[in-house]
C-alpha cells in the first residue's frame, strides 16, 4: 500500500483529543460516515471540513487521538478522505480503532518534527508526502524516514480491510 498525499494538514500540537476531532455532542446520534465528516475537527480547525480532499495526509505531534474511545474520531477523518496520519505517537485506543477501520497510522517522530519545522515552506510549495506503508518508508522532497511496521496480528486485521471483514472471515472459517 502506497499513498501520495494531495495536501498536508499540519497539526503539531501534542495530545489532540477525540473530543476536538469529533465532538461528544454528536456521538449518540446515528450518523453515516459522510455525516460524521461534517463534524471532523470541528472544534479544532473549522477550515478542515471545507478544504479537505481525498488523499490528504495529516501530520501531528504526540499522543494524537487522546481521550475518549469514540471510533467516529477515526471514521470521520477517513470518510473525509484522509489517507494516512503521521504522528510522533498515537493514543492507544485511537491506534486500535484505526487498525480496526484500516486507516493507516504511521509513527515517525522524525518526520513529524521535519514537517513541523518546515511547515511554511512545505505548504507554500504544495509539497507532497509519499508513504510506502508496506515497507515502512516516508519520502518528502529528498528526505527519507523509516517507520515501524505493524505487529503481525494488527497487520492481519489491517490487510483484511478492517475488523468487520476480519471477523466475518473468521466466523466463516469456524462454521
Amino acid at each position: 500500500m502506497r499513498f501520495k498525499s494531495q495536501k498536508i494538514w499540519i497539526f503539531p500540537e501534542d495530545d489532540i483529543n477525540t473530543d476536538v476531532i469529533f465532538p461528544g455532542r454528536y456521538t449518540y446520534e446515528p450518523l453515516s460516515p459522510d455525516e460524521m465528516t461534517r463534524h471532523a475537527l470541528e472544534d479544532y480547525d473549522s477550515k478542515f471540513i471545507e478544504e479537505v480532499e481525498d488523499g490528504d495526509i495529516i501530520v501531528a505531534g504526540s499522543n494524537f487521538g487522546a481521550g475518549s474511545s469514540r471510533e467516529q474520531a477515526v471514521t470521520c477523518l477517513q470518510a473525509a478522505g484522509i489517507s494516512c496520519i503521521i504522528a510522533k505517537s498515537f493514543a492507544r485506543i485511537y491506534f486500535r480503532n484505526a487498525i480496526n477501520q484500516a486507516l493507516p497510522l504511521v509513527i515517525s517522530p522524525e518526520c513529524s518534527d521535519f514537517v513541523t519545522k518546515n511547515k511554511e515552506n512545505l505548504l507554500s510549495s504544495k509539497e507532497k508526502i509519499d508513504v510506502d506503508f508496506d515497507n515502512g518508508v516516508i519520502k518528502i522532497k529528498d528526505k527519507v524516514f523509516s517507520f515501524p511496521k505493524l505487529d503481525d496480528q494488527a497487520l492481519q486485521i489491517f490487510k483484511a480491510g478492517g475488523l468487520v471483514e476480519y471477523t466475518k472471515t473468521r466466523l466463516k472459517k469456524s462454521t
Binding site: R25, T27, R92, I93, L171
Partner: protein
C-alpha cells in the same frame, strides 16, 4: 517464568497461559469476564450484524453488560430512538445484564451489581473502563467495532503491556482528597506518559483508600493513556467483596517483576489541585490559580459521583446558599447512591443550598445533554476531562477539574477556591 506484574498474571490467566506466564509485548488472545458498553450499543449492534449477518447470535448472553447512561433521559427523539434500538437488541439476543436508563453510570453499576471479581479481564467500549482496576481486575478500554467483534467471537487480541509502579505514602491532610492525589500523579506522568502501560498502585496510603477513592484513581489513569490502572486485592477489597459470592485468590506481583517506571508520592504534604483548561495534565496547586469566576459547578460522573463525594459536598454546603451567579449541577452516579443520599439527608442539603439534582447518568460531562455550558462560560467539574468543547460549547472559556470538595467550595464563592467560606 519471568517475574510477573499484576497485569501479566491477569492476562496469563485470561489467555490460558497461567503456567508459563506471559512476557511484555507478547500478543495474547483474551476472553473477557464481562464486556461493557452503553448508549454506543446501538451503533455496536449495527456493526455486529454486519459481521454475523441478520440472524447472527452473540457468543454468550451472560458476558455482555449494557447500561444506558450517556444520554439519560434522552433529550430528543434521535437519542430516544438510539435507546429503542438497544432495547430491541437486548431482547432479540437475550442479553442478561441490561440496565435501563436511570440505574446509573456503567462504571458504577458494573461493580455495584457484582460483575467485577478480582483477577479478571473486563473489556469496555468506553475509555474509563480502567475504573475496574480498583477491584483488582484489568479494566481495558476498546472501541466500538472491536466490541462488536468480541460480541461475535468472544475474544480479542491484547499486547501484554509494560507496567508503571506508583507508591503512595502518608495520610491525606484535611481538605485533600483522592482526586487531588491523582491530578498530581497526572501532572507528573503527563497525558501521554502511561500510553500502552499498565499502572499498579502500592504504598501505605493505598491501604487507607476506600473502594470509591480507588475508583477515582483507576478511572483517571485513562487520562495518562494507560491500558489499565490496578489496585492489588487487600482487606478493603475483601470487605467490599463480602456482598458477592466471588471465589478468588489474592494474587500479587512477583518480587522480580519488572517496572519501566516508579513514581513515589508522599501525600501528607499535598494541597488541593486543579486541572486547568484544556488538558488534564495542566495541573497546578489551586493557590497558584488567579481569581477565576465560574458559571457552572458540576458534581458527579464516573470519577466523583459516589456517596462519599456527595456527602463531602453536602457537609460544605450545609445551611448555606450557592453564589447567585453559579448553577450547581449534581448527578449521583447511580440510583442506589441517589436513594442512599436521599435517606441520609444529603440530597435535601444539596437542594436547599441551590443545587439541581440530575437523573443518575453521565450528565453534561460529555456535552450531549443535561446542563451543557454556553459559549463564553466557565465550569468547575468533578469529572475527568477538560477538553475544549467537552461540556457542549466549543466557545467555552474553560473547564477546570477538581475534587467534589473544591467544586462545592467554589459554588459557594462564585470563583475557584479550596478555602472554606
Amino acid at each position: 517464568m519471568v517475574g510477573q506484574t499484576l497485569i501479566q498474571k491477569i492476562l496469563a490467566k485470561a489467555s490460558g497461559k497461567e503456567t508459563e506466564g506471559v512476557v511484555e509485548n507478547e500478543i495474547v488472545f483474551v476472553s473477557p469476564h464481562r464486556i461493557l458498553s452503553h448508549d454506543n450499543s446501538a451503533a455496536i449492534s449495527k456493526t455486529f450484524y454486519k459481521m454475523v449477518g441478520p440472524n447472527g447470535k452473540i457468543w454468550d448472553h451472560e458476558k455482555i453488560f449494557i447500561a444506558l447512561d450517556h444520554a439519560v433521559p434522552p433529550p430528543d427523539a434521535v437519542k430516544a430512538g438510539n435507546h429503542t434500538v438497544i432495547r430491541k437488541f437486548v431482547k432479540d439476543q437475550g442479553i442478561k445484564y441490561f440496565y435501563e436508563g436511570g440505574t446509573g453510570i456503567c462504571h458504577e453499576v458494573l461493580p455495584a451489581k457484582g460483575h467485577v471479581p478480582p483477577n479478571v479481564v473486563i473489556l469496555g467500549s468506553d475509555s474509563h473502563t480502567t475504573t475496574h482496576g480498583a477491584f483488582g481486575a484489568a479494566g481495558i478500554p476498546i472501541g466500538r467495532t472491536e466490541t462488536a467483534s468480541v460480541w461475535a467471537i468472544g475474544e480479542t487480541w491484547l499486547k501484554v503491556p509494560e507496567s508503571i509502579k506508583i507508591i503512595l505514602d502518608g495520610s491525606l491532610p484535611k481538605g485533600v482528597y483522592a482526586k487531588d492525589v491523582i491530578l498530581e500523579i497526572i501532572r507528573q506522568i503527563t497525558a501521554a506518559g502511561a500510553t500502552y502501560n499498565s499502572i499498579e498502585f502500592y504504598g501505605s496510603s493505598v491501604k487507607k483508600l476506600s473502594m470509591s477513592e480507588r475508583m477515582t484513581l483507576s478511572n483517571l489513569t485513562a487520562e495518562m493513556g494507560a491500558k489499565a490502572g490496578i489496585f492489588p486485592v487487600d482487606d478493603v477489597t475483601d470487605e467490599w467483596n463480602k456482598q458477592f459470592e466471588f471465589q478468588y485468590d489474592r494474587i500479587t506481583a512477583d518480587e522480580d517483576a519488572k517496572y519501566i517506571k516508579t513514581l513515589e508520592l508522599e501525600v501528607s504534604n499535598l494541597t488541593p489541585r486543579i486541572a486547568k483548561p484544556h488538558k488534564v495534565d495542566n495541573v497546578v496547586p489551586i493557590e497558584e490559580l488567579g481569581k477565576t469566576t465560574i458559571d457552572v459547578a458540576l458534581i458527579g460522573t464516573c470519577t466523583n459521583g459516589r456517596l462519599d463525594d456527595l456527602e463531602i459536598a453536602a457537609n460544605i454546603l450545609k445551611d448555606k446558599t450557592i453564589h447567585p451567579n453559579v448553577r450547581l449541577l449534581v448527578y449521583p452516579a447511580s440510583q442506589e447512591i441517589l436513594l442512599q443520599a436521599t435517606r441520609e439527608g444529603i440530597i435535601e442539603t444539596l437542594v436547599a443550598a441551590g443545587g439541581q439534582i440530575g437523573i443518575p447518568a453521565c450528565g453534561p460531562c460529555l456535552g450531549a445533554y443535561g446542563g451543557c455550558i454556553a459559549s463564553g462560560e466557565k465550569a468547575i467539574s468533578s469529572a475527568n476531562r477538560n477538553f475544549k468543547g467537552r461540556m457542549g460549547s466549543k466557545e467555552d472559556t474553560g473547564i477546570y477539574l477538581a475534587s467534589p470538595a473544591t467544586v462545592a467550595k467554589s459554588a459557594l464563592a462564585g470563583y475557584i477556591t479550596a478555602e472554606e467560606e
